[in-house]
Subunit: 445 residues, 2 copies
């Protein structure tokens, strides 16, 4: 076997950057400021050959050489060895990445929305054209998650992933917990502080988390999993009452991504759940993210760190760039993303859980009995009922005091549970919207 | 650029295994049981061509094909594409790995002692011969630590690593904390349960942790760091009194690996330290390991999981085997390990810390004043003094009651601190051995 190619060549590896927003400008900073170190880690210099932006006049970062700025993104992607895509969204990102791949460039992207919808096409396109695709920054910011799933655990059989991968919802739930705020108050506060977007839909409705779930599940289970395969519930319906009830039970509410191998196939879900306050995920606060992975041989792993932010995300992007640049310097390739597994997505019913359901009721004799009867008729066993916690909501159409009735079930399937909740909600004595939360513990998973 | 080589070739990639102990037999199990899945993840079949052991009659695992067993390890390493070394120790492991590398095989090893002494030679030999060396299992069992340092964070500037990477000492300190045991009792108990070796030196004296510190520091700081560069203190001198004093302050004692970039160079150390019981590392119990990494752009990361055990360690080994097999299938290479940084190892004095020093004294008037004067004369400022905790030790040569005097300093350098302790220990009124523990907090680091 021949010796490694001479890696101390002077020929620069050409890097093109699409986007100069928060992450893009931090990525440019690392590439410029760490230039000498990166060259020594790769064995060849890296040269930033262009930065495509919509409006060059809006780029203000002083470490960006203005002569690199261009609006011709289509032209730029054909004159680079590595194209970094940080513009987000589906188009034109998808078309630009495909064009880069077709012209022989490897690509690095942080675009979770794109990968969750079109990842498998991009993975196959890269393989077909003999180039690599890296995307560590698409899940969990700076935290090594993609690489451990793609490489470290590739000799093992992953059984489940449970993660907190959305900082905005984690911050909002934290604020509701520590300050007793209602969801809307905590959201406004998060928006005012820049932790939530003006349009918070992607975060609070769980879509961002679902995208990350699809990406992780594809890697973990060697099967094409798309965002459409991931049923999702967000946190809009969580109330201060739910948080208070959780606290009384020494639990916290977290928006979880859960992907698991079940008897009936792969299940990937996003939902808010009650977890014990002693669980390691319970102490993941604010913008931090964490993913718990369980594999047959490796057992439990947790990967924890900054899930967002310009510099942390740029760290992951540049890590991928250096990894790919080393492949180019050595005329090698990164790992393919195999999607060979003939295993179905599990039906909704496959995922059984204990649930905590909170109804708002007009307390009249017989209400509890009537509700319990619906659960019983559908075969759902009740673990406990609690009527202690005073609700903070009021029903203008009702003169008496509103009571909060909280029912915690034993393990049951969600389809049946939802049917029960729907039936109970039609009762005259039940008002407002019921809250349904999974009770997460290792057994139930 | 040409398309990727046809990866669905049928030609097997030949794997040789050296050693069939706890980790070796689990590695063989994964290679045999997951054979079909691994082939699809690589794109080519993996074939276990031989297992070298000292005594084939002692191999009992029923998944091991006995016709694969051989005592000719030197012959085996020359007829494989990937050689897995799980025999441990320096020789013959070093010679066998060099022979494998020279004959064109890539190597995977879990041998921390070897890498901590001869890693840089092996890394250079692999690079010179155009083969790869992977060793995820050498640090932290199943936890992805080596790969994140080598690849994920390669675009960033790591400032510090703080880790719990030895399960035996972590178990012993846990038992001392929860059951109030003395070190010797907890050690015997750990030995009886199989959590500590009959000769526990490598673990309790911190040598195993120091080896891992050297390996991680080489990767983190791009500089050759050997075990000899890592000053080490073990946990033999920790007493039940130290644990009790820590508890009273809401701290726990953990054996830490600390590697950091200081003004005066790279410092890598192993020592027992007091950490707040709210620190994430405080809740790393028993055989679990965790490493905290801080980098300029990525900020804080924590990687947590099973630090030892046959199956978890085998998971990391087979992850490396698959990674390398993919490179071979695609005629590519893994990353080099650059050691270009011209940065010295920091002198002992460069690492400043707060210390908690516990003296056993015969309480006579003026003892405290005399002790305080030594600290003052050497310029070490005292943060607090505590004489409340009754010692559990007795001095047969002294009829009065022995007192425990605990002095907590402000930040100072260790060389001066050790000189002070030595002086104070010569006092007639001071008996037994002083205990010196660093007080670890993020600022002091």
């Amino acid at each position: 076997m021949s010796a490694k190619p001479e890696v101390e060549s002077d020929k620069p590896i050409r890097i093109a950057l699409l986007g100069a927003g928060t992450v893009g400008s931090q990525t440019a900073r690392l590439l410029v400021e760490e230039c000498d170190d990166l060259a020594r880690r790769v064995g060849r210099p890296l040269e930033l050959v262009g930065i495509a932006v919509l409006d060059p006049s809006k780029v203000t970062a002083d470490w960006i050489d203005r002569s690199l700025l261009t609006t011709d993104s289509e032209g730029l992607v054909t004159r680079a060895d590595i194209v970094i895509e940080l513009i987000g969204g589906i188009e034109p990102a998808r078309t630009l990445l495909l064009k880069a791949i077709e012209s022989g460039a490897s690509v690095v992207t942080a675009n979770k929305a794109l990968l969750a919808q079109h990842g498998p096409e991009l993975y196959r396109a890269a393989q077909d054209h003999g180039v690599d695709i890296y995307f560590e920054a698409a899940v969990g910011g700076a935290i090594p998650i993609v690489r451990p799933l793609r490489e470290s655990l590739v000799g093992d059989r992953i059984t489940s992933l449970v993660g907190i991968v959305n900082g905005t919802t984690n911050y909002i739930l934290d604020e509701m917990t520590t300050k007793g705020l209602q969801f809307e108050e905590a959201l406004s506060d998060a928006q005012a502080k820049g932790f939530a977007e003006a349009d918070p839909t992607a975060d609070v409705d769980g879509l961002d988390a679902a995208a990350k779930a699809a990406i992780m599940a594809t890697l973990a289970f060697h099967r094409d999993v798309r965002m459409d395969d991931v049923p999702v519930e967000g946190i809009r319906s969580i109330t201060a009452d739910d948080i208070a009830a959780a606290k009384a039970e020494r639990r916290v509410i977290k928006l979880l991504v859960v992907a698991e191998r079940t008897d009936q196939g792969i299940s990937a879900r996003v939902y808010p759940a009650l977890i014990p306050d002693t669980h390691p995920l319970a102490s993941v606060r604010g913008s931090f993210n964490a993913v718990f992975v369980t594999a047959e041989a490796a057992d439990d792993l947790m990967l924890y760190g900054r899930g967002a932010g310009g510099a942390p995300t740029a760290s992951a992007v540049v890590g991928d760039v250096v990894t790919e640049a080393r492949h180019i310097a050595q005329q090698g390739m990164g790992p393919i993303i195999p999607m060979y597994a003939r295993i179905p997505m599990a039906p909704l019913e496959a995922s059984r859980a204990a649930f905590a359901v909170r109804f708002l009721i007009h307390d009249k004799p017989g209400v509890l009995a009537a509700i319990a009867q619906v659960f019983s008729r559908e075969g759902i066993s009740i673990n406990g009922v609690n009527q202690d916690i005073k609700p903070t909501m009021h029903d203008p159409g009702y003169s008496g005091e509103i009571q909060q009735l909280r029912v915690v079930t034993h393990l049951c399937d969600e389809v049946t549970l939802r049917r029960v909740v729907k039936q109970v909600s039609t009762f005259d004595s039940v008002t407002g919207q019921a809250s349904v939360l999974r009770v997460f513990d290792q057994d139930a998973l």
